[in-house]
């Protein structure tokens, strides 16, 4: 099957800054894909190149098999982009904006679909309000609606939940999940790592214009993060070497042990008891994307 996105050897330099230093990436149709990285890693430049907003110095990008330069019309028809910046046109109402955006994509009578999007994004009561009258969260929803007017098979969301309240965030993800279940490919960039962990099946991590990790979310969690047992001792004790080797973090009386299997917990507790340690408090931690992210960024 044609990949939803194929990126091969893409480089881009802005004066002295190498924004993209040779990106190769394929995203399959129907995936929920995460693109993570610190600020300045090249995520937005990569998305801009895919959307035709920026021209790479070398390499090729395809959306649903269509080259974004040579076959730009088909590529852009297949792509919906929610930009990172909260931009809007102050001259028009929400419905006017969505009708215009439909027209730009060659769609004349699109009101049924526009109504459906408005309904799904809880924008129906604001359909005839001027864009200037909307709150930041509402404007963000209109940006999502604009990206969907032409029913693109591939949807790219560049930090769509930055500065958005919890309720809207949950509503937005519910809608995006539904689109993904309906077969749309979703590519997401976000700084909220727990969002990426929950939503994305596969994740690429970028640093200084390079992909430094690319795997399924489950594999990344397995490879770069482990379960943790966090124990607060009543007083410090000397640990036997077997137990000391499992300590991943140490802050005064608080010790953190890493483990793979849950039956190791009993061994750790037994080891502590035989070393004379008295446990004042205890908590179990699960692997999380933040650990993975920090681990990978520090490695590279």
């Amino acid at each position: 099957m044609t990949p939803a996105i194929r990126i091969a050897g893409v480089t881009k330099r802005f004066r002295s800054l190498q924004a993209l230093a040779g990106i190769d990436l394929e995203v399959s149709q129907g995936e929920f894909f995460g693109l993570l990285g610190p600020n300045g890693a090249g995520k937005t430049t990569l998305i801009s190149s895919l959307a035709g907003l920026s021209r790479p110095d070398s390499g090729t990008l395809e959306v649903m098999g269509h080259d974004v330069v040579r076959d730009y019309r088909a590529a852009r028809l297949a792509l919906g982009v929610v930009p990172q910046e909260l931009v809007f046109d102050p001259f028009f109402s929400v419905r006017e904006i969505l009708r215009l955006q439909s027209g730009y994509f060659g769609l004349k009578h699109n009101d049924d679909w526009i109504d459906e999007i408005l309904d799904n994004l809880d924008l129906t009561p604001k359909a005839n309000a001027n864009m200037r009258m909307l709150s930041g969260g509402m404007k963000r929803r209109v940006l999502v609606a604009q990206a969907l007017v032409h029913r693109p098979p591939v949807i790219v969301l560049d930090e769509p939940t930055a500065g958005v309240d919890v309720e809207l965030r949950q509503g937005l993800w519910q809608f995006i999940r539904k689109l993904n279940q309906d077969g749309h490919t979703i590519v997401l960039t976000t700084h909220y790592l727990e969002e990426a962990e929950t939503l994305c099946g596969r994740i690429a991590m970028l640093k200084t214009g390079r992909i430094v990790a690319l795997d399924t979310t489950a594999n990344l969690l397995k490879r770069f993060s482990s379960h943790a047992l966090r124990v607060t001792l009543a007083a410090r004790v000397a640990l036997p070497p077997m137990l000391a080797a499992k300590v991943t973090k140490e802050e005064g009386e608080v010790l953190e042990f890493g483990f793979e299997r849950f039956d190791e917990v009993a061994d750790i507790l037994a080891g502590l008891k035989s070393a004379g340690g008295s446990i004042a408090d205890m908590a179990l931690g699960t692997p999380d994307m933040e650990q993975v992210f920090v681990g990978i960024m520090n490695q590279n």
């Binding site: 931009v87 102050p90 730009y104």
Partner: protein, 251 residues
């Protein structure tokens, strides 16, 4: 094609929604010029035999309004979209650079023509004349409007802040239109300045446009149309090349 039509519609709707600023204000400005200059000079100057100064002034003011507003339309729309960031909404869809160019330039011509028509209609109570050759009026409105609309696209894309656009408008467009024979026949100028005027394409736009009203002008309308067409062709090629390369739009 639908994308082009929608962009053209949006550009027209944009200026129409703020019609006080984009159409009525320029009309009022031009009428004030007409009242003041017409009143002061009507008994002193007769530019062409049988043509009063006020009658002479009207076509000049109409064309000046067409040109200035055609420039203002594309340039202000583009710089506003760039600065607010909403330019992405027309860069993301499958609209070609030629469609992009055509939509902005045609909308500019329409705004220029709407303003020019407004000036002409409001002037009618003050002057009476018959229109000698309307085809020239239409031709110069379209070509002059397209020339300035194109220049507006260049300025709107080049300028990174409103101050730069204001400089473009006030130090280039305004002097070239004011010194193009709107208020005088270049035959009233010393020989040197007559020669200089022939390097100003705006002079040919105004002069050719005026020929359409009176059937008489400072130079042949064929010369004017040739100069204006050549200037427009060069400018159109430059603008299209800029857009094709994505200059300052697709970095």
């Amino acid at each position: 094609m639908e994308g082009f039509k929608t962009l053209l519609y949006k550009e027209c709707l944009r200026f129409w929604k703020v019609g006080f600023q984009t159409v009525l204000s320029p009309v009022l400005n031009a009428v004030l010029y007409l009242l003041i200059f017409g009143h002061v000079l009507k008994d002193h100057v007769e530019p062409y035999p049988g043509v009063s100064y006020t009658a002479f002034l009207v076509p000049g003011l109409v064309m000046m309004t067409v040109l200035q507003n055609a420039f203002a339309n594309s340039s202000s729309s583009l710089i506003q979209s760039k600065i607010t960031g909403n330019i992405v909404f027309v860069l993301l869809p499958p609209i070609s650079y030629r469609e992009f160019y055509s939509a902005y330039v045609i909308a500019s011509v329409l705004r220029g023509a709407a303003c020019g028509l407004g000036v002409l209609l409001v002037s009618l109570p003050f002057v009476s004349f018959r229109i000698a050759e309307p085809a020239w009026i239409v031709a110069f409105t379209l070509l002059g409007g397209a020339f300035l609309g194109s220049l507006g696209v260049i300025a709107g894309i080049w300028a990174e802040k409103f101050d730069q656009l204001a400089a473009f408008q006030n130090f280039l467009i305004m002097p070239l239109t004011m010194l193009s024979g709107v208020f005088y026949s270049i035959h009233s100028l010393p020989a040197f300045w007559q020669g200089v005027s022939h390097f100003n394409p705006f002079f040919f736009m105004i002069d050719g446009f005026r020929y359409g009203f009176f059937g008489v002008a400072d130079v042949s309308p064929w010369t004017s149309i040739a100069v204006v067409s050549a200037c427009f062709a060069v400018l159109a090629v430059v603008t299209l090349k800029m857009l094709e390369r994505g200059y300052k739009l697709r970095g």
